[in-house]
């Protein structure tokens, strides 16, 4: 989606504000939100990725909300979409009469080890890579209306394959349950001037990880 979350290269977002000795959570509810999200994703009660739901938040709201408020908003949407709760239950704060109780929630002992378990990212599927390190490639001019990891600022730009990161599921189809579409992911080096023209230093570069479907031979 070409929505406001894809903000690389935008001007006008204001100064960067750094807080000294920042706590992990500023308010208790923030920790509860991320914990609910991780716990329910771990038991597959909601989708593994919150990102499609976060990216669907209207631009004005997205910019107004804090990170954890966006996560909370997305959590509610995904709970309803996954039929775990109804909007009426959210409104009333009470389970509907006669609604079934879930069979399995993440337990405390499972939760204690969850953050330290490494989720499988690489797929053990043999797929031939289309590109090799050192090869010139162009990011395709794609504008999908759903989730993508191809940032707008790279589209149509030419770079060089830095390295092959192996075979992974393609998020554009995977988050829509249209299949994993396993393919190679590459670290691609773009000269800063190729992306930003004269505004950038001639020595600088931006490295972007790109799925093969985002790339074409240059």
């Amino acid at each position: 989606m070409n929505s406001v979350h894809d903000m690389g290269g935008m001007d006008g977002m204001g100064p960067i504000q750094v807080e000294k000795n920042e706590p992990v959570f500023h308010e208790r509810w923030e920790g509860r939100v991320i914990a609910m999200r991780r716990a329910m994703a771990a038991t597959r009660q909601i989708p593994a990725s919150a990102r499609p739901a976060i990216e669907s938040i209207t631009a004005a709201d997205y910019l107004r909300m804090s990170y954890y408020e966006r996560m909370f908003t997305a959590l509610v949407e995904q709970l309803v979409e996954s039929s775990q709760v109804t909007r009426a239950e959210i409104e009333s704060g009470k389970p509907a009469k006669g609604s079934a109780k879930a069979i399995h929630a993440l337990t405390a002992s499972e939760a204690a080890t969850l953050p330290f378990r490494v989720p499988p990212v690489m797929l053990s599927v043999a797929v031939n890579p289309r590109f090799q390190a050192g090869q010139r490639v162009r990011a395709r001019n794609l504008h999908p209306v759903s989730h993508t990891r191809l940032p707008r600022y790279a589209r149509g730009r030419t770079g060089v394959i830095e390295r092959d990161r192996g075979v992974q599921a393609f998020p554009d189809t995977n988050v829509l349950s249209l299949g994993e579409k396993p393919q190679h992911v590459y670290s691609v080096r773009f000269a800063a001037r190729e992306l930003w023209g004269e505004r950038a230093s001639p020595r600088d570069a931006v490295f972007i990880d790109m799925w093969e479907d985002y790339l074409e031979t240059a």
């Binding site: 894809d6 903000m7 690389g8 290269g9 977002m13 204001g14 100064p15 960067i16 504000q17 750094v18 807080e19 920042e22 706590p23 992990v24 959570f25 308010e27 509810w29 509860r32 914990a35 609910m36 991780r38 990102r51 804090s66 990170y67 909370f72 775990q84 709760v85 239950e89 704060g93 009470k94 109780k101 879930a102 929630a105 993440l106 337990t107 405390a108 204690a112 969850l114 953050p115 330290f116 378990r117 490494v118 989720p119 499988p120 690489m122 990891r149 940032p151 600022y153 992974q168 992911v185 670290s187 800063a192 992306l195 230093s201 020595r203 600088d204 570069a205 931006v206 972007i208 990880d209």
Partner: protein
């Protein structure tokens, strides 16, 4: 609601609002809300609903919050950096395969399945960002700070890295290459900062104490230790 309860809510609400205002850098010239924030109530209501429906277990949520607050954080990354500074073989392994090398020191997990460590040198300065979201190497740095997740940083880091670095007090010579790593996929990044001069006699623990979160994101260089202090 009795008056004692009302007083408690007034105080906790004001503290919470102040925390938010502080995080956003507001001036304190407005009246804070004197009741718990809307989000406090909404999140509490959602948690109660999910517990009643058997979808979450409160003790599991407590365990996750405890991990994020106390078990992951930049101290983990600092230990990695210090080890790489004192052990050239470890450094080689770390730069070749970050995930495997941090596992040697006992670190692994979510948002760190594939970790790439990039080395700052006198000629190359690396900077980490996630323009699309807020991807961050949790096993070594913990959860990201607010500024890293903010629109100002995410929008500017790729187009104006030298301007961003200037705001963090980091000035780079023209002939230094700035490499910005945009974490768009599953790969997570950490910077191996340059070891400062004057630290030859420090042991690994003292070295780790010098390493800041911001240095491991490439925002700052690590200053040499001051006289009389490690």
């Amino acid at each position: 609601m009795d008056s004692t309860r009302r007083t408690f809510l007034t105080v906790s609400g004001a503290v919470a609002a102040e925390n938010v205002a502080h995080a956003q850098g507001h001036d304190h010239d407005h009246v804070h809300q004197a009741v718990p924030s809307d989000l406090t109530l909404r999140v509490k209501a959602l948690e109660s609903l999910l517990v009643e429906k058997g979808l979450v277990d409160r003790a599991a949520l407590d365990a996750l919050v405890n991990t994020y607050e106390h078990k992951v954080g930049p101290r983990n990354g600092a230990r990695i950096v210090a080890r790489a500074w004192v052990d050239p073989n470890y450094k080689r392994r770390l730069l070749a395969n970050g995930t495997a090398a941090i596992a040697e020191l006992g670190y692994s997990g979510e948002q760190g399945a594939d970790l790439t460590v990039v080395e700052n040198t006198p000629k190359v300065h690396n900077l980490i960002v996630c323009t699309l979201c807020s991807c961050y190497p949790w096993p070594v740095l913990g959860l990201p700070p607010v500024w890293y997740k903010s629109a100002p940083y995410r929008s500017r880091a790729v187009i104006d890295p030298r301007g961003v670095l200037h705001e963090f007090g980091t000035e780079l010579a023209e002939d230094v290459e700035v490499h910005v790593w945009d974490s768009t996929a599953e790969e997570r990044y950490m910077v191996l900062p340059e070891r400062p001069a004057g630290t030859e006699k420090l042991n690994e623990e003292a070295l780790a104490a010098l390493v800041s979160r911001d240095a491991m994101l490439g925002m700052v260089k690590i200053a040499p230790p001051k006289e009389g202090r490690p």
